[in-house]
Symmetry: C2
Subunit: 890 residues, 2 copies
Amino acid sequence: MEKMIYSFGGGKAEGNIKMKKKLGGKGAGLAEMTNIGVPVPPGFTISSEVCIHYDKNKSYPEGLEDEIRKSVEKLEEIMGEKFGGAKSPLLLSVRSGAAISMPGMMDTILNLGLNDKIVESLISETNNPRFAYDSYRRLIQMYGDVVMGMEHDNFEGIIQATKERKGVKNDSDLKWSDWKDIGEQSKKIIRDKTNEEFPQDPWKQLMGAISAVFESWDNKRAKEYRRIHSIPDDLGTAVNVQAMVFGNKGENCGTGVAFTRNPATGENVFYGEYLMDAQGEDVVAGIRTPGPISEKQAKESEVDMVTLEKRMPERYKQLEEVRHKLESHLKDMQDLEFTIENNKLWILQTRAGKRTAVAAIKVAVEMQKEGLINKEEALLRVTPDNIDQLLHPMIDPSATVEVIAKGLPASPGAASGKVVFNSDDAILEAESGNSVVLVRRVTSPEDVGGMHISEGILTSRGGMTSHAAVVARGMGKPCIVGCESLSVDYKKKQFTVGGKTVKEGDFITLDGTTGRVILGDVPRIEPKIAGEFEEFMGWADEIRRLGVRANADTYQDAKKARDFGAEGIGLARTEHMFFAEDRIPAMREMILSDTKEEREGALEKILPMQRSDFEGLFRAMDGYPVIIRLLDPPLHEFLPEGEEAIKELATSMGISVDKIHEKIKGLHEINPMLGLRGCRLGILFPEVTEMQSRAIFEAAVEMAKEGVKVIPKVMIPLAGYKGEVVVQKEIIQRVAEEVLSNAGVDIKYQIGTMIELPRAALTAGEIAEEAEFFSYGTNDLTQTTLGFSRDDVGKYIPDYIEKGILTADPFQTLDQDGVGELVEMGLKRGKQTRPDLEVGICGEHGGDPASIEFCHRIGLDYVSCSPFRVPVARLAAAQAVLEEKDRGME
Amino acid sequence: MEKMIYSFGGGKAEGNIKMKKKLGGKGAGLAEMTNIGVPVPPGFTISSEVCIHYDKNKSYPEGLEDEIRKSVEKLEEIMGEKFGGAKSPLLLSVRSGAAISMPGMMDTILNLGLNDKIVESLISETNNPRFAYDSYRRLIQMYGDVVMGMEHDNFEGIIQATKERKGVKNDSDLKWSDWKDIGEQSKKIIRDKTNEEFPQDPWKQLMGAISAVFESWDNKRAKEYRRIHSIPDDLGTAVNVQAMVFGNKGENCGTGVAFTRNPATGENVFYGEYLMDAQGEDVVAGIRTPGPISEKQAKESEVDMVTLEKRMPERYKQLEEVRHKLESHLKDMQDLEFTIENNKLWILQTRAGKRTAVAAIKVAVEMQKEGLINKEEALLRVTPDNIDQLLHPMIDPSATVEVIAKGLPASPGAASGKVVFNSDDAILEAESGNSVVLVRRVTSPEDVGGMHISEGILTSRGGMTSHAAVVARGMGKPCIVGCESLSVDYKKKQFTVGGKTVKEGDFITLDGTTGRVILGDVPRIEPKIAGEFEEFMGWADEIRRLGVRANADTYQDAKKARDFGAEGIGLARTEHMFFAEDRIPAMREMILSDTKEEREGALEKILPMQRSDFEGLFRAMDGYPVIIRLLDPPLHEFLPEGEEAIKELATSMGISVDKIHEKIKGLHEINPMLGLRGCRLGILFPEVTEMQSRAIFEAAVEMAKEGVKVIPKVMIPLAGYKGEVVVQKEIIQRVAEEVLSNAGVDIKYQIGTMIELPRAALTAGEIAEEAEFFSYGTNDLTQTTLGFSRDDVGKYIPDYIEKGILTADPFQTLDQDGVGELVEMGLKRGKQTRPDLEVGICGEHGGDPASIEFCHRIGLDYVSCSPFRVPVARLAAAQAVLEEKDRGME
């Protein structure tokens, strides 16, 4: 190990902001601030490499303790104080700080260096026994908790008992003698429980604290956090040892946190909170209400409290200078912690500030205009996933809510309405003008009508790509799925959860962004899409290579997709159109037909409906390609469930209930996902392919005559064999040529296939002999490659993630090692056969940033996703280019 | 084209037996026979290349007609006759003959050269007007049928009407004038229907006939045959033009067919049938009963008729000489056609004779002993699939049967019994001493008990690898599946088919070898396994590289597998053991448990049962490896279906019906194939893995103490991620070490995984870091790679084969392009990580010869199949080596 410790203080530091890996985010920030002249309490950072060494060997590298002693001596020099000294005692803090921020996940110990003797000299020096004894008991308790393994509750109990004994309510009502007493009791309880003494030797304290921080890297909480956030375990944490400064020494003291800009709106206003005569943790604890930092902030948020700007104008001015210095130096909005000790300003921490999506965009765009960053840097400042927030209403964060359950946040946004339990009730209620929320165990295509009319959808089962989730995202409707604690009773029309029963007609609110199910109607806010949004997305479009298309089945969705910037339709599911109430009878008639002739009769009724659907798509996508997938789902999905509905259908069609039962039985499949669906339908019933092709090309001709530029692409679903494409293509081509030549219109069109089976990817070279484009259906490809039924994975995926077998839900983020290899293999083999083969992706992964990065990297031509994910995809595609550049420069 | 026509006759031929591709099998045989001095009517063969040319261009290559004329002239010279001549007219036959035999699939025309005038000279020369007019009308009718596109029924109608008019019953009762008249009427009907005349010009006849044969290559029947037998379409057929010889000219004439050995038993006895004064087709037509050829044959088959040997001893002697000459020259049992014309013997055809499996083995072994062929050649003389026949009883071929339906022949052999419709009834009937046949729509694991006790199983749905098929083959029980014409009514306990109703208790017989469902009890024969069988299999073992193991779950099956030569168990399914009536309660208790503790209680009851099962397997496989797969199927398979059974279970377990319903609902999956099963179970419920591991190692210890050499291998099912193997391996290892060290016994064991998901094959390199062996579960790998649910494919696979999208059912024969690539990829990647990784296959494909050849070629270590397929696999593995050698020499 080259260098174990990096000092900072007295105007210069050995480290800098670029050394985050070694020094952690906090340590690197402290070093950088020191170097640019920001007042930082001096200290030193023990490198994360020491942690890695410690983690491996459970011992320190040779010479570390010597180095620490030398570093403390340096500190003593700067501060003119002595660690463990009877006079002017130097007190230290020890804090963890990893390269990637893990807030609250690891441990901190303050006030190191105090003991029974030194606390007395602190009193004589500060003349503030309350401060001294409070500081000492804090040390004892933190040390007992973090280093000696005590339960924190023990100490809380002592404080509580003391307050009761004294008959007071608040900590602030306790006297210095009480705090002294609490310190003594704390030492005693440590002795009783651990059989060890709280160490009086400051050096023992310091070394114990450092070890504890290193060990905290491997505690359960930290491991869990890393697992969830995909942070590698062998990164290690740095340890920051720093001279203590106190905001709670009296009148000229205070502490606060501040954002260099408003983190909610992004406005360029200094924004923060402060408390006089307080420690940092008191601001967070929320016992006293902190005041706003600046006058502008106070005015905007209509807070009638004294600002720091008013109370300490000099210190405020100094803080303002620090603000500008940090922003112009670090080129991002910062989140600061500061302390004022006896009228002297200290900055304890700086880091990039967390912000809402609105703020992220505003800050990025304004900083680009201010010349702080360029467009590429601006693009990297916004997390693509967050953009989704900009497109949906949100629950008013100031509202008080009663959360009754939590499920998977399947589709973002907030929705309130009366609870209904089936599509028919949803339609009835909605028609009487009520907002409704549809609650189901799971949804099936039969529910699509009800989903469409509902404000939001809640299911007790299913994962992030269950039917409910996919369809709701497609519709842009808030949706929560897999809310397993719900027990849904269709018969009684109610659900129960945690002892509560919610009946049909009761109001609930869904927060699809977080997965919270809330009782009652909760106020929502419509987020404003700031003017910078469009400009920002324009930059993304300038830089990205990947095309972005939308999955859309209706004119409305297609229009929305265009508004969101989609460059065509990557997937129009022709079956979604059949679930509407005025259409499903013809579809059912088709399915219930016994002969080709009967089927053709029913198809003839469907033809004009399909044609008008397709006209809408072409019209909305004027000048952009429209990929229309032929009928895909198993036929039984179109038939009614439940005796009631079957009876109704039998009556309306004039056939017997038995006949429908028989058909349903005949269509029943054990594994419908792997059954009679996709092009297998079109091959068994060529008349369906024929009708759909006719509808597509007749619509294209009609629109072309109206002057719309149509680019139709017909997609054959679920092919696994070249022969399947041959057989279907023959029909499509024949119909196309017939329709076009009859109309005397020349329209270029293509015929391609979805690649959603491993065999299709493996034999892509052969399939590309026939297919003119590929579109990866990565939902199904994930199901088959992994052997995971997306409808059934809810039972084990959480456990798999918990056990570390999976790092992410493969239906949300593409499994690059398995599915990804097949995607890449199919791409290469396909393009080898047909160099101009267009290859895209239209599964749910098309809207997932990590998966989009992969799609860019392997060289796909475009991604297609639901309209609401289009802006997300545009940004993610741009960032993929920037990341690639970045890697190229490494 | 080098040479279009190859002549033969007069003791020498331009072709030979090796030129099958050009001359077809028939032409090559005729040439070879001519060369070795066998009396063959002279003629010539038009090369199949002409057919290919004709097929492509719909015209002949230049100069063909000239060549034909020259060849006919050569014929005229040899025969001393003239084609189209008024005196000594030469008559010709035209027959197709492709390189691969397509019996009855293509067309033949005899007696070419006759016309209204020449028939008269034939009369004056033979003095036999009946013969002449009969020959002429045969020409007219064949020509009308084959060349002029008439329906054959037209001519049948004329003959029928004539017989009625004359009041006679048999063709032989018609007089010469009747035949003359029939000829005239035939010409007239041709004229009426086609507006063309039957050509009187012999040359026109000849050229028309040749064209018709070439065209017949592309007729529907021939195409269909090629599709079914995977014969390439661009092979083409040769055409044989040959001088006619007649066995029906009178007393010194006759015709017959003969096998050089008995095709049923393989015994070295000249075996055939003949008719005096008859044409070849009369033997086949079966109007007159033909007599046996040899005395030995007559004696053995107890036929009291005059033999050819008695009737024409000289000709018989000559035929015997031909027999020996052909066998010693062609080194295989031959199937001959001969004609004796005016006491002169002619051989019209020779080809390898079709034979039963028994005969195939006897002939091969005896010919090796006779020095005709070596062991390797002998091994190639038996089709592996046929070996299966040797292990099952067959329907007596002489019995008259009433076939009421036909399904897929899922498991060979014949079975008779009373029809039952569920497991309980099967058990009841069987317990009263009756044989039963279980009839179901489909079977589920619940039916295994009933299947076990039944003689045979018949299902109306499912494919060759449906549950019924797989389990029945495993049990070696005759089984027919996918018998779609059956309508099964469980309630009424009957099935209907083609208007017939078969009720519970009625007798049916299944022919699992052909798929025939037969009404009533039909006599069966137990085939004798000749002594040569064992010797023959020994030769296969000497040469094969692939190991052959068995899929067996019980001591009985394992013992049988050893008897059939299995070298270990490749797959023991631990769940099959749980369906027995005395065991399933504990299993159900385990599943219905709400807590880990309850589950462990139930598992404790199961432990001793599992242990004793495993003891049986180790005992049967003394010295050979036993691969035991941990629990694999979805849990709901273990729960009862139907209200009755649920009530019973509730009562017996003392819990509520609702609770069971709730559990069943909770376990219901939309796609169980892709759901909570395989190692996902063991990961969610580690206590199951723990119990099974304990049972395995306790059984191993127990057997080792008894002196059995145990080689346990624990197999983790359905892994897709290395992490899954890690998590399960940890449990297995821990339990193994504990059990072994407690017992103080040292047993080598391995932990491996099934590869049955595309992801597992793709990431095999990683998985092999943990797994010590791989076993490909190609059933599931086929399901996932192709997206075909084996339970649901029945709806489209037949159509796919019909349309040529599939060449074979991928569940029977491995899809080498898709699934095969994954198998090979996983093998390579696995061995790269772990060079000594053992890799085998345990799917149904492990018993399929074509798939075994593939397994050998890519370098798998072994195949594992059901006990009854073990001998098949041993032979197929040997043939794979020989084929490889053969390819190496090409």
